[in-house]
């Protein structure tokens, strides 16, 4: 079929869709994922510009409004020392995002290289790494995090580390399984044949192709980290008061469940919405990045 150059040029021009068109296409294909992403971006904006959005200082105590139920003035009510709950929740977004990002960062930074090394070199080093990780997996996440915080003390940094460490085996195993299947591919064999170093093969040929499942898992792990931080905060061993966090607000609010249920309802909803959004986004990414599920 003969196509003259002009038609071809015209075709390729119209065939490159604008960014807006592409965004619209993605939105049509994965409306839930795009919606979840929008919620996450809105909450991230609240976190970054908390002072702009929060109606009050999260620490300001209004002694005329102690344990006040939700009103127009305080839409989510006030706590036992008269602090505005809405403002505290808006500021709490900061801690949730920070813990999520740093914890997942730690898990990725430690877990991925471990999995890469284990899967690439196999043999004794693989066996050693995987058995140690098996031992890590045997500790229930929250109990392990509790133990770390107990030993190191409860600070924001230690909470982030503790949560990150509990997710290391997950990323290591995932990376390893990816590497095991990728290292048999022709292009990796070709790279080996041309004399590329192990390092170059791992970084240039294997890792880029192992990224998709890691991105999906990282998104889901963000949700897990937010949940874990809230859990530790609720148990009273997370980030310590007076820093506003969703978990510690629940820790302080829940003993007053009967008198002031709003103190327990709103922070829980906030956690639920953010975690659900991360999970929905992760699922949508999986569907888009994995051709198998896209077909199904």
């Amino acid at each position: 079929m003969a196509v003259d150059a002009q038609t071809l040029a015209a075709f390729s021009l119209t065939a490159t869709p604008s960014l807006a068109t592409r965004a619209r296409r993605v939105a049509r294909r994965a409306p839930v994922g795009v919606g979840a992403l929008a919620v996450i971006l809105i909450l991230a904006m609240l976190a970054i510009a908390a002072p702009v959005f929060a109606p009050y200082d999260p620490q300001a105590q209004d002694y005329n409004q102690l344990l006040h139920e939700p009103t127009l003035e305080h839409p989510f009510g006030t706590d036992r020392i008269g602090r505005d709950l809405l403002s505290r929740i808006i500021y709490g977004t900061r801690i949730s995002f920070m813990v999520g990002v740093v914890a997942v960062g730690v898990a990725l930074a430690v877990g991925t290289p471990l999995g890469l090394i284990a899967g690439y070199f196999r043999g004794a080093i693989d066996e050693l790494i995987m058995r140690i990780l098996d031992a890590f997996i045997a500790f229930p996440g929250i109990i392990f995090a509790l133990a770390i915080v107990a030993v190191l003390g409860s600070s924001l940094m230690n909470v982030m580390l503790a949560i990150g460490v509990t997710s290391v085996p997950l990323f290591a195993r995932l990376t390893r399984s990816q590497v095991l299947s990728l290292r048999q591919r022709d292009y990796v064999l070709a790279a080996t044949a041309t004399g590329a170093s192990d390092w170059r093969i791992m970084v240039r040929h294997i890792m880029p192709n192992a990224m998709s499942p890691l991105i999906v898992q990282a998104t889901l792990a963000l949700g897990f980290a937010v949940l874990a931080e809230a859990g530790l905060g609720y148990l009273g061993v997370g980030v310590q008061p007076p820093t506003p966090t969703w978990g510690s607000d629940l820790n302080q609010g829940s003993p007053l469940l009967e008198r002031a249920p709003w103190l327990s309802i709103a922070p829980g909803m906030a956690i639920f919405i953010l975690v659900l959004s991360f999970n929905l986004l992760g699922d949508a990414l999986r569907d888009q990045l994995d051709p198998h599920t896209r077909k199904a």
Binding site: R131, I142, I143, L250, S264, G268, F272, V275
Partner: protein, 318 residues
């Protein structure tokens, strides 16, 4: 079969050794000076001779590997040391609390399984119908909702507003089964529902996968009743991957008891863990961490053995 059991059990040994090293390292190496912990940070009140003597008694002057082996030898024979705050043997304190936590965990596990397996099967069989969508929503909600918050909301609804169930507390089944059931409903349902998310999703996708297999088409083609196709050909094969998830969830279940016991004021091992963390009672933390890890390893071992029973390919080394 017995060969498989032995192989699998032997595999657990190096993991157990690493677990014990980790527990030892976590608490003995990272926690700094135990002498300081015992004297309550008031080391200044002790004479240097007294400190030396204490160190010698505790074996702290030995090299670390020797300390580890001594600790391990004692642990294997059931001696996990004494609580710093109550001076009670750790093993005794844990054994005291363990039955409570086991009751909670087992009932919760049962509730979780009996909701998610049927729901996952129904969703997989009736793909893209309202049942499927409902199951997806429930599963996503169950995963994203903090278990402790779900518990708080249940307390608020059933315990405070409608007052049909006690909001918190615990009665052992061995003391008064009727009362025990009443007290156990809310915590067990909370913890159980929390497990359903991933289980339901795994059961659903596994069912969808199996139902698209050739042998299912053959079963239908030879005129078997749909019921029989789904139960005998579909479900039985779809259960295998679900079993793996069940085993992996043992950890989440044990961990979940910590928060749930706190929410419902249940005096179990989880609460023991939390109070010992808050009071920096290192020997108790060490004991609880070790026991929960062994519980998880045992659950995984049982899962793998069951897998071997159900799937001959595994048993005979593929």
């Amino acid at each position: 079969m017995s060969g498989y059991i032995v192989r699998r059990a032997l595999n657990a040994i190096p993991v157990l050794i690493f677990v014990s090293i980790l527990v030892f390292a976590l608490t003995n190496v990272m926690s700094g000076d135990p002498v300081e912990a015992i004297s309550g940070g008031s080391e200044a009140s002790l004479t240097p001779e007294a400190i030396d003597q204490l160190r010698e008694e505790l074996g702290l002057n030995d090299p670390l590997p020797v300390q580890y082996l001594n600790w391990l030898r004692a642990a294997v024979s059931g001696d996990l040391g004494k609580s710093i705050t109550t001076n009670r043997p750790v093993t005794e304190a844990i054994l005291d609390r363990l039955p409570t936590t086991l009751q909670l965990a087992l009932v919760a596990w049962f509730i979780g399984v009996s909701i998610s397996i049927p729901l996952g099967i129904l969703a997989g069989v009736n793909r893209n119908t309202w049942i499927d969508h409902l199951a997806t929503v429930l599963a996503l909600g169950g995963v994203a909702m903090p278990a402790f918050w779900m518990g708080l909301m249940f307390i608020l609804m059933f315990g405070v507003w409608w007052q049909v169930l006690p909001p918190s507390g615990f009665v052992s089944v061995f003391d008064d089964p009727a009362q025990a059931a009443k007290y156990l409903v809310l915590p067990a349902v909370t913890l159980g529902l929390h497990q359903t998310g991933s289980l339901t999703r795994q059961m659903r996708s596994s069912m969808v996968e199996v139902l698209s297999q050739d042998y299912v088409r053959t079963a239908r083609a030879k005129g078997l009743k749909e019921r029989r196709v789904i139960i005998m050909h579909g479900m039985r094969n779809a259960m295998l991957p679900v079993l793996t998830v069940l085993g992996l969830q043992a950890g989440a279940l044990v961990g979940g008891t910590v928060v749930i016991e706190q929410v419902f004021a249940i005096p179990g091992m989880g609460r023991l863990a939390l109070t010992s963390v808050l009071s920096q009672d290192i020997p108790v933390i060490q004991g609880v961490v070790l026991v929960s890890a062994i519980a998880v390893l045992t659950a995984n071992l049982v899962t793998d053995l069951l897998y071997g029973v159900l799937d001959p390919r595994i048993r005979h080394g593929r």
